[in-house]
């Protein structure tokens, strides 16, 4: 039963939503951004530190929380422009459902493409990250 849905709610997603590796507000950060989905009340805050350190505080569904965590993992040590490029590639994966070998664990979210209403859950942390990067540029 539920084999297909487990493609989306696979072990990595469940694991990262229950016990994220990159959660928590750091003591020091250079910029932050927020994402909010009024439809369901999902909320995420993303903290960016120079040098490519990203942390998150996610309150919402499993897809959004796992996505925030996998994002923080994927953008580690990346420059802001590399992060922006990664966001584009990730959005392509979750809207098309086609995995991108360059994206590693982020491909775990490819299954979200089948659920149009849930794509927003997967992309919300990236919206928050973009906001943080914008703030980082202005002030940094």
């Amino acid at each position: 039963m539920m084999s297909e849905s487990q493609e989306l709610y696979q072990a990595l997603i469940m694991e990262r939503s229950k016990a994220p590796h990159f959660a928590g507000r750091p003591e020091a950060f250079d910029a932050q951004g927020q994402g909010e989905n009024a439809m369901c009340g999902d909320r995420v805050q993303v903290f960016w530190q120079r040098g490519g350190v990203v942390r998150h505080e996610a309150h919402g569904c499993a897809i959004m929380t796992a996505s925030a965590d996998l994002m923080a993992q994927a953008v580690a040590e990346k420059t802001p422009s590399q992060m922006t490029a990664l966001r584009g590639a990730f959005e392509e994966v979750v809207t098309s459902g086609r995995e991108n070998p360059a994206l590693g664990d982020l491909n775990a979210l490819a299954g979200v493409a089948q659920y149009r209403s849930r794509i927003r859950c997967a992309t919300l942390p990236w919206v928050a990250l973009a906001e943080a990067l914008k703030e980082g540029q202005v002030h940094g």
Partner: protein, 410 residues
């Protein structure tokens, strides 16, 4: 009233969509409170109009137009009888309940209510019975007051008394059944309460009308609104019932053809109700479809429908109670088959997506009742809602699906 035995197997055959599969599984449709499925009788009635008996209404002098006008007006008679209205002229066709409420807010609201008067709504309103009154408040200077509900999802009478205490309330606009909590409100008592304090009452009957017989004369309610699509009818057709003297005093909502008696460049004389409120070509096919839907539920009779749904609700509550840590919102004494719930760790959207993969359709989100979500201390819930075609087995399937989800998220 009932002329047909309540045989669930036969009833399910009346709804062609129930034979569909979703993701390779039998469809378990538990989202009827959002919009109900349509019986063959409604589909056939609508196809028949378009194939055999269609023209514009109230305009043509030709045979087709006259026959179509007859069928359209026959639907009005059916709605009038269905609600036990005193007269057919008290039935106004709209697009949906939302439009019906807006119609009342824009016409009655701006003429019968004066700046300084107050409108009361409850904490468990659909946005459709909140936002029009906020707009009236902002445009017309009336006050909008919110009557509290109890934790179990019932009217807090103390709070209601307090809202009415200064005598400024001229309208109580309140749900007849919550689309989130499933609570019925005691309509008769509410109407008597408001009337004794000089206020009119509008009941949002979107949910209630589907599950029990409504007698507007017995309730003595001033305005009653509902949508066709939740009552097994088509979308695009809604109803406003209003007492004749209220409609007589109300100016038109929209202007155009059909709503006038005579037009010149100097002066236009409005038509009498209900046509005064039905500007432009109406939803002819949909209105006739609504008539067929009313025939369908009346043939089964609300006694049998309510008995079936009561058993489903009891069963549903029992099944949900068997799932560890699951919280059902509200615990009203008088509640119907609309069950909203939350599970720790599993977000409502995760629940809905995972159930969907098993062919089970539930709704998730704030259900167009954001203030109520805040009142109940949640941001979103999953909601299973039952209809006359729902089976015990479908509720068991929901329970089994939820148990699996519980395991995954534990």
């Amino acid at each position: 009233m009932s002329v047909r035995e309540f045989n669930l197997d036969e009833i399910r055959k009346d709804f062609p969509i129930l034979a569909q599969q979703v993701h390779g599984r039998k469809l378990v449709f538990l989202d009827s409170a959002a919009s109900a499925q349509k019986p063959r009788a409604v589909i056939d009635a609508m196809v028949h109009v378009m194939e055999a008996q269609y023209a514009n209404v109230h305009r043509g002098l030709h045979w087709m137009s006259e026959r179509t006008s007859d069928a359209y007006e026959a639907a009005r008679d059916k709605v009038a009888a269905f609600l036990n209205a005193q007269a057919r002229e008290e039935i106004v066709f709209t697009r949906n309940a939302t439009e019906s409420i807006n119609l009342v807010a824009y016409t009655h609201g701006r003429t019968a209510l004066r700046p300084g008067d107050a409108v009361v709504v409850s904490e468990m309103e659909h946005h459709a019975n909140l936002v029009p009154w906020q707009m009236l408040r902002d445009a017309h200077g009336v006050e909008l007051r919110i009557a509290k509900i109890t934790d179990s999802g019932e009217i807090d009478w103390e709070s209601l008394e307090a809202q009415f205490a200064d005598g400024k309330v001229k309208l109580l606009a309140i749900t007849h059944m919550s689309n989130v909590l499933g609570s019925y409100t005691p309509a008769e008592r509410l109407v008597a309460f408001a009337h004794a304090r000089g206020a009119k009452v509008l009941l949002d009957g979107c949910q209630a009308i589907v599950h029990r017989a409504v007698d507007v004369q017995a309730l003595d309610v001033d305005f009653y609104v509902f949508s066709g699509h939740k009552l097994y009818g088509p979308t695009g057709i809604g109803v406003l019932y209003a007492k004749r003297e209220l409609l007589d005093a109300m100016p038109p909502f929209m202007a155009g053809g059909e709503m006038i008696e005579s037009v010149s460049y100097q002066r236009t004389k409005w038509a009498q109700p209900p046509h005064r409120f039905e500007a432009g070509t109406p939803a002819i096919v949909e209105t006739i479809g609504l008539g067929a839907a009313i025939d369908y539920v009346q043939a089964l009779g609300f006694e049998a429908i309510a008995a079936h749904e009561r058993a489903l609700t009891e069963h549903g509550l029992k099944v949900l109670a068997g799932i560890e840590d699951l919280r059902v919102l509200g615990a009203a004494q008088d509640r119907g088959g609309v069950l909203s719930f939350t599970m720790p760790d599993a977000h409502a959207h995760d629940i809905a997506t995972l159930l969907d993969r098993q062919g089970i359709a539930v709704r998730a989100g704030h259900h167009c009742a954001e203030p109520l979500m805040g009142r109940m201390g949640v941001t979103a819930t999953a909601r299973a809602s039952f209809a006359l075609y729902t089976t015990r087995e479908e509720i068991d399937a929901l329970g089994a699906g939820l148990l699996r989800i519980r395991q995954m998220f534990k």
